[in-house]
Amino acid sequence: MSEHQQRRGDGKFGRYGGQYVPEALMPAIEELTDAYERYVLENGDGFMDEFRRRLRDFGGRPTPLGRADQLSERYGIEVYLKREDLLHGGAHKLNNALGQCLLAKYMGKERIVAETGAGQHGTATAMAAAHLDMPCEIYMGRRDINRQRPNVFRMRINGAEVNPVDVGRGTLKEAINETMRDWATTVETTHYVIGSIVGPHPFPSMVRDFHRPMSAETKRQSREQFGRLPDAVVACAGGGSNTMGIFSEFTDSRDGDDEDVTDVDLYAVEAGGSTLDVDEERGVAPNSASLSTGSEGVLHGARTKVLQDTDGQIMESHSVSSGLDYAGVGPELAHLVDEGRVDAVNVDDDAALEAFHRLSQAEGIIPALETAHALAFLEEHENPAELGEYVVVNVSGRGDKDLEAAMEETAGRNLANAPEMDVFEGEGLQ
């Protein structure tokens, strides 16, 4: 089997992956698979060249890798931050949104649809679609709409339609279902831009490849800045796109590297929510830790780890961060955890909020609440020195979208390091 065929794959990652979608979508999935192979894997018509150019000139790649001086001191190790928060739109999400919108254009599609949870994928898609002059509709759960109003504004301002999804709890899961329905109706003219490394093949592989620059840059920048690869890379995992994006160059050594990239430890930090315990009765998991506590199932087109009850009904997940609040996870990540290549860990809501404030105050970077989970892992670790000398944390996004949510969630808790809140509540400042 040639390198190329191996990369192309069959959409299976060990026992995970596959294409569990309605027949009506299968032709589109096949067409997309062909396009993925032709344009992404083989750079047909110079697709990848244009993609990389637009990532640079529109997206702002490469993003920096920067030393976190205060955190390094705090943990006694060298902490470096990969700054996806500086990508256009404020999160890693644009890598994928731009890649898929561009691919849709190469495929002759006329319309873009996407789901969104936190609104980050939706805003990224709206921006990419506007940039490429394509009409765009975003499905978003009603509850998320209320939690992430600024992102709703942004999508509308970028000219996208935002379609509220009222079914169920009104979060990401329902938005995905609804987008699939749209796609099943409009599949001939429309491309569905999935927001993470989930869904049927070729999405998990394709989305990972669009996010791969994170990893390639981290490799190069680590060598430039401290002369070698890091000992560990830490990223938060919702669907897992920022995780697989920054892990991907370390999971195989296909570039013929001298160094053993597989020596780099990889940590996927899930949202532990309020507790890892599950309320089977009500079908509620007060967390989003599908890698740590989920079981094998089929969700949204792929076999993977999911939060489900004994019948196989998908549970309501929970996280203080909308972007991690999802009952499934990418099949490749599930596989890498099974294989022992990636460590799945988790931190709870409180720890994430504290980490949110810690990074803001110590480094002058307000992280997304999703990202705060990755940072909390360092704090929660009994002995960070065990992680190694150089640790890279993926700052998957900025926290501007989370200001109101973070303030609200902070107000109700007794956090060690939160700023005085009264000033926000109209007394001090209004």
Partner: protein, 281 residues
Amino acid sequence: MNGDPTPSTLLPDGGESRIPDAFDGEPAFVPYLAAGDPSYAGADCIELGLPFSEPIAEGPTIQQAVVRAMEGGMTVERYFEFVSELDVDVPLVCMTYYNLIYRYGDAAGPEPFVERAAREGIDGFVVPDLPVEEAGPLRAACDEHGRDLVSIVAPTTADERLRRLVDRSSGYLYIQARLGVTGARTSVSGRTAESLARVAETGTDLPRAVGFGISSFEQARDVIAAGADGVIVGSALVDVVAEGHEEDRPVEETAARLEDLGRELTEGALAGAETGASQAD
């Protein structure tokens, strides 16, 4: 993946699927109902929905039915109990999503579900999120237990793919009348006729039932006239049930309305059969 196509005539012993009989003779009327809804007499075959939390192929009507059923405490166990108590003498097709089939029982894989379903009197399965590529294990389990696995043919299914799909189907072919999700519509896509013609070209013996949006006499008539062997009616019936729920109607009244609508559609189908026959002359 199971490489052997298994036409419905090749059923192992230990109880046979009754589905082939349902399409013998006059056009079949195949209502879709959520388990627990008032049962329906007059059907030639019943698709009985087992609700899944992520009904990605359903329109609003059936989504709401799913929510209703799940809030009403529907579980896989109760579904099977309901099936076993059901007092009808037509074939039953379980319509659900793959995860419920896959997760059932102690061992991973679809076999325990199929085994139990067969035991309770289910004749076959329609699984909207299971394309032929992923259907191997379920197909194997169905073969083992003499059940049918119905394939959906979409308007977008190209000819080559259609052949593969026809080869691996049993029971009947579910011809999807239009793109999109389930839900009652007023007209039937011109692509239905096209699909039926394309299926005919494959030379398959499998009956063709048309579903997605069938809700009226005219629609039933038209699809049968275009060569279908039956009509599958889901959302139109579920709407009647939903209305009954909303307006707190007695179960008998809803059942009577279902019967009326069923009769209208059956008559439409018969009318279509006549047209079809005269056109064929």
